[in-house]
Assembly symmetry: C2
Homo-oligomer: 330 residues x 2
DNA sequence: CTGTTAGCGCGTTCAC
DNA sequence: GTGAACGCGCTAACAG
């Protein structure tokens, strides 16, 4: 930058000001500076700037998987919202592991992000400690944590699944099956299962008929074997709800392959409204979640908190919408 | 850090050394320091460190879309490979636009990445200029650019599509259709189309039968309308190749919906070997590309170049594999 | 509108 | 094995 200043015959401070479009710099001076900048191919060093201004312009975001379009939609929402403010997303994926999350948080905190956006409400104690001593806005998304760290942008996975089941019950279905992942790695999956069981309980239907298959996140490949196992064990099952559209789609295709009529012989419903379910044959009944909106809102909330500073700040829970999308598979 | 040093009764320099597991720090001193660190909840400030050591530990990566599992697989490969070295990925998506790419590169260069990994070989002149004056390793992936900026890790999309067509021709197919995107936004798509046309030419088949549908990247939803248009226009088409599995899947499902037999009435082939094609009914013939490997190799190459410094450096083109996966849809 | 001074929080370099 | 001085490239705060 000193080079640029010399070339333009001004001080570095003026260059700094001109480059940030900030404050008062006269047009001729500004022009000289920009000419020098492009002649020298100069690019501002934001690392140095951050050190001085104590603002890094980073927002750290952790999602379980970058390959899951639900979560990458959220990441898109965040990026799109941050774009206009010049904030830069620092993205990591935890692979559904709290320990990975902890390591990533630690690494990211070294970069001094101005805000953190997490997925879900389950974290290691050390993660919670690091986050609160960082004293920056923390937003948990995609869930309604019982003890939020700070702010929340999400919805109740339990309620969403419950709504799906009651909607299906209203169509006359009685004997429900459920397919989810085996371990406790995916807390959103657990919530959904809870919602399933609660709905059956409230409706007075027989419980059970639950198949746990594969380590979450279970994907397309797990759907086929899971539904076959379920139908073998409980042949009179009328409808099967899946923890996500992905295994539901796998199940749907396996049924077609084996000439099992969907929804006549067995109906299938997913969760998440992935693109694949909207175009499969038959089209899949599912629960639509506002993935992109979660990202947008979370990012907007961070921005607001950053602008408000510490004053005027109150914790808040922002609820995002979900709705059942009834299609041909039920 | 000064706080920590005071607590431990040593100088900041010793703290710095201990925290980086570096060099000689006696065990008792080291222990005192770590105790102070955890008591104070201290986290190293890497921005300050970067300024001093002139190493940011950032690798900038640009992919066209974060929602496309082919590219997010590449991003995973990069992250996984970088992880052990402590390098941090700075990820952006261009939305298939060279202008977005330029803006993102400019923003990322301000963070002084130590290397850049791009998708494809088409960039604006200004992008190329910025990149070469940054004098850091630049890797172009997913393509074989005629004029590489620096290093390349990719494959010929043209050859890959050509291989698919010749494989299908060997099965006896003669009347080929093709579905791709409409504009020139997606250079990999263009290469594939070129490969399609060249193959037909070499085989002496009639050309034509090409439907351009939607703005790239075309997705599942475009597949149905596109294949219907194609079959209406050229009813005797025997097989249709798609620029990607996604529209191919959409077409497959539309055919099932309309009771058009696949592959008997018309065969369908995709590109990219997305998970959805491996479990659809019928399962989809496609071209498998080593998405994850591209990321791994690109990251490894960056790491190598960083370790080698400027000496001992030679530009290189690393070819990644592809193969036709024949399944039930052809 | 522009310049000067004084750090930001580390790592480098050299001394001890 | 440890410490002191200095500087990385920029910007905040104040002065002019």
């Amino acid at each position: 930058m000193a080079d640029v200043a010399r070339h333009a015959g001004v001080s570095t401070m003026t260059v700094s000001r001109a480059l940030k479009n900030e404050a008062q710099v006269s047009s001729p001076t500004r022009e000289k500076i920009f000419r020098a900048v492009s002649e020298l191919g100069y690019v501002l060093d934001q690392a140095a700037g951050s050190l001085s201004s104590r603002k890094t312009g980073f927002i750290a975001t952790l999602i379980p998987s970058i390959n899951n379009s639900n979560f990458s939609d959220t990441a898109r929402g965040i990026t799109d919202e941050l774009e206009r403010t010049g904030l830069q997303l620092l993205l990591g994926y935890t692979d559904y592991s709290e320990d990975n999350e902890e390591k990533l948080i630690e690494a990211m905190l070294r970069r001094r992000p101005e805000g953190v956006i997490l997925t879900g409400g389950v974290h290691t104690p050390h993660t919670r400690r690091m986050l609160s001593s960082a004293s920056i806005p923390v937003i948990e998304t995609w869930d309604l944590p019982p003890e939020p760290i700070d702010q929340v942008v999400g919805f109740s996975n339990e309620e969403a699944m419950r709504l799906l089941i009651t909607t299906l019950a209203a169509k006359g279905y009685r004997r429900f099956g459920y397919v989810g992942g085996r371990t406790t790695r995916d807390s959103r999956g657990e919530q959904r299962r809870k919602g399933f069981m609660r709905a059956l309980d409230e409706l007075g239907f027989v419980p059970g008929r639950i198949v746990s298959w594969g380590v979450p996140p279970i994907s397309i490949e797990h759907g086929g074997p899971a539904i076959m196992t379920l139908l073998e064990r409980w042949p009179d099952t009328e409808v099967v709800a899946f923890v996500s559209d992905l295994p539901a789609f796998g199940a749907l295709m396996e049924c077609k392959r084996r000439n099992i009529q969907v929804p006549e012989r067995v109906a299938i419903a997913g969760f998440g409204d992935y693109e694949v379910g909207g175009f499969s044959h038959p089209r899949m009944t599912t629960v639509n979640v506002d993935c992109y909106g979660i990202g947008k809102l979370a990012a907007r909330r961070v921005i607001e908190l950053l602008q408000a500073g510490s004053r005027n700040r109150h914790d808040e829970i922002i609820l995002t919408s979900f709705r059942v999308v009834e299609r041909e598979s039920t």
